[in-house]
Symmetry: C2
Subunit: 373 residues, 2 copies
């Protein structure tokens, strides 16, 4: 999408042809800085520290991470080592494993001399596919916005979103934001309530930043506020992204998503989840019971980073000395609370039957890998 008029993707191959560039998302919204990833270690570190984040983007970075690893050493041993190191960076998002498996399939059984080029090609395809998928998600979600806009007759459409499922979390367009950007670009008056999304504030720091840079009207709200807004008719629709959707349609996403789904249900506000199909994990059914939830360092809760009056970036402690904090990264919204899944193949019900019908080839592949395992 655009940064103050300039078209930008969240990941690109650097001019040297031997490294990739990403936006350092840990210093947004106060600074715009980019990172050059020139080795497997660079890619692992960027994902682990969340300098680069967002389920689809992590997949893209991991794909290029395998390419970088093969560039240094194209042996089977190094390939396996790199695959394991990248897979271990983050436990919850399934796109990571999907992308690694895609590159693996592209390079395995090839002579060493061809592996680097094959990995590079597949990583690039993964990026382009992500953009195409998000555009399709955007077109499918746009219809939902258009319906509301028609009903509201020129009044602005209010969307609530949680965390950042924006273009920064993908290669371009975003998942939850793709319909929003398309509506805005088409002249529909649209306004986004961006949940702050504690503890890492991706809503306040990333979603607000990218919406602002592209020119979309938005208001940052504390995570506590969405229920009140819905009770008072101030939210027309909720769009969120996801890190993993199970075979039965349960949705794992940034911690706090479940609370917004409950509020949406209680107030008859439609609650949609936007996802590229690589986010579906057909091997998992019950999201609450089965998906591993990442626990991160307590200092993400106890410290808050921002910009001081004189422009310095500083972290301040916001809990008493001696108080502990817990930091679960994700929660699971049961399928029963989801109005629909916006996929590249259309808006479908969050159910086993609808997912299987929309992505039959994934079911077959899943069954095959179960037999092999």
């Amino acid at each position: 999408m655009k940064i103050d008029g300039r078209q930008t993707r969240s990941i690109w191959v650097e001019q040297d042809g031997a490294s990739v560039g990403v936006i350092d998302q840990t210093v947004l919204p106060h600074r715009f800085a980019t990172l050059r990833l020139a080795s497997l270690d660079d890619a692992v570190r960027a994902i682990k520290t969340m300098q680069t984040r967002g389920a689809p983007l992590i997949g893209a970075v991991a794909a290029y991470g395998l390419w970088l690893a093969l560039g240094a050493d194209a042996s089977d041993e190094n390939l396996e080592r790199a695959y394991a190191a990248l897979l271990a960076t983050r436990p919850t998002a399934i796109n990571l494993k999907w992308a690694l498996d895609e590159v693996m399939a592209a390079v395995r059984n090839r002579p060493r001399g061809e592996r680097v080029a094959a990995a590079f090609r597949r990583a690039g395809e993964i990026c382009d596919e992500d953009v195409a998928i998000n555009q399709a998600i955007g077109r499918n979600g746009l219809r939902l916005i258009e319906e509301i806009a028609a009903r509201k007759k020129g009044e602005r459409v209010n969307v609530l979103t949680h965390c950042n499922a924006g273009w920064l979390a993908t290669v371009d367009w975003g998942t939850a934001t793709a319909p929003i950007y398309m509506a805005h670009d088409n002249g529909i008056p649209i306004h986004v309530f961006a949940d702050e999304t504690r503890p890492r504030n991706q809503g306040a720091s990333l979603t607000a930043w990218e919406l602002g840079r592209h020119g979309v009207a938005h208001t940052v709200i504390p995570d506590n506020m969405g229920g009140h807004l819905m009770q008072h008719g101030l939210v027309d629709i909720v769009f969120v992204g996801t890190d993993r959707v199970t075979a039965q349609g349960d949705v794992c996403n940034k911690i706090g998503t479940y609370l917004k789904a409950l509020a949406a249900r209680d107030n008859n506000v439609p609650f949609y989840v936007a996802l590229p199909s690589p986010t579906i994990d057909f091997m998992v059914n019950d999201g609450v019971a089965e998906i591993p939830i990442e626990e991160r360092a307590p200092d993400e809760v106890t410290l808050m980073t921002g910009k001081t009056k004189d422009g310095r970036i500083e972290a301040v402690q916001i809990v008493p000395d001696g108080s502990n904090a817990a930091n679960y990264g994700f929660d699971v919204t049961p399928a029963r609370l989801v109005t629909g899944l916006i996929t590249e193949r259309g808006v479908i019900e969050a159910s086993r039957a609808a997912l299987a019908k929309a992505f039959p080839e994934r079911i077959e592949r899943g069954a095959k890998s179960k037999v092999q395992a």
Copy 2:
């Protein structure tokens, strides 16, 4: 309650006999400072800036505020002016109006020469009554904790709370925290998940502080986390306070409370609201439609104050330049989501019938003032 072993109330008459002292709650948890309120203006400012806050404590401060005003000028005109100024400080909590009306009733129709002493006496009674009420709430809520403790056979009891309904919000004991302190003092192993409570972080800065100083085990969690904890059986019971309960049992409390009530209902976790009876507003029925919700300055959302590494208190900006923020202070939890109300007269259903039965004299008084109006 205790601050590192020393028994403390949140408000006291200073040794000069002409002013009251309160704890400055805007610099907690990083500094402990007290404020001397020597005039009506001091009291108004302390409430408005939230240096002193919490529905019951605001009532106590406002009662002493009338006393301070009368000390300067005991005329009817000044009494009315002071009443209006104090009433206008905060719009949502009903205890404020209740306490002002109590002092008004005590001084009105008295000769000017007796008014100061009468106001002082009634303000002191309001404080002592608040302590007695909270102790009764504590005893009633303690039984709920004891039942859980008996069932869990020595395993720790996990309570989730939102915002600060602790002793800092009252004169002593707190409302939601009174049962917790009593359980702790009685040797029941108890642990509190304290919601951070954005945007003002009263959970992270005040609840965590007072629990820690009294020695109660606790963990600060982002507001987003409670649903996940409940899904995984990590919360035995929820205790919150309230700023106003309607005649039909709707509960107005700090923004975000409603989301926790929804999660509690969805996971069969008991959700209790602790309240002194002055918090009940028998003149209001439908909380969502009728209670005025305070909107506060956006910079409470966009700026975050904390302690830097070198010990300075600093505010940092956490949203992009140019992004707006909304800041509603409270939301309303419909009575249907409330397991029970813990009052000084027992644990009762959140319903019109149960409230009327428990506080019949308030219904009569309400009917009388309706006729007079």
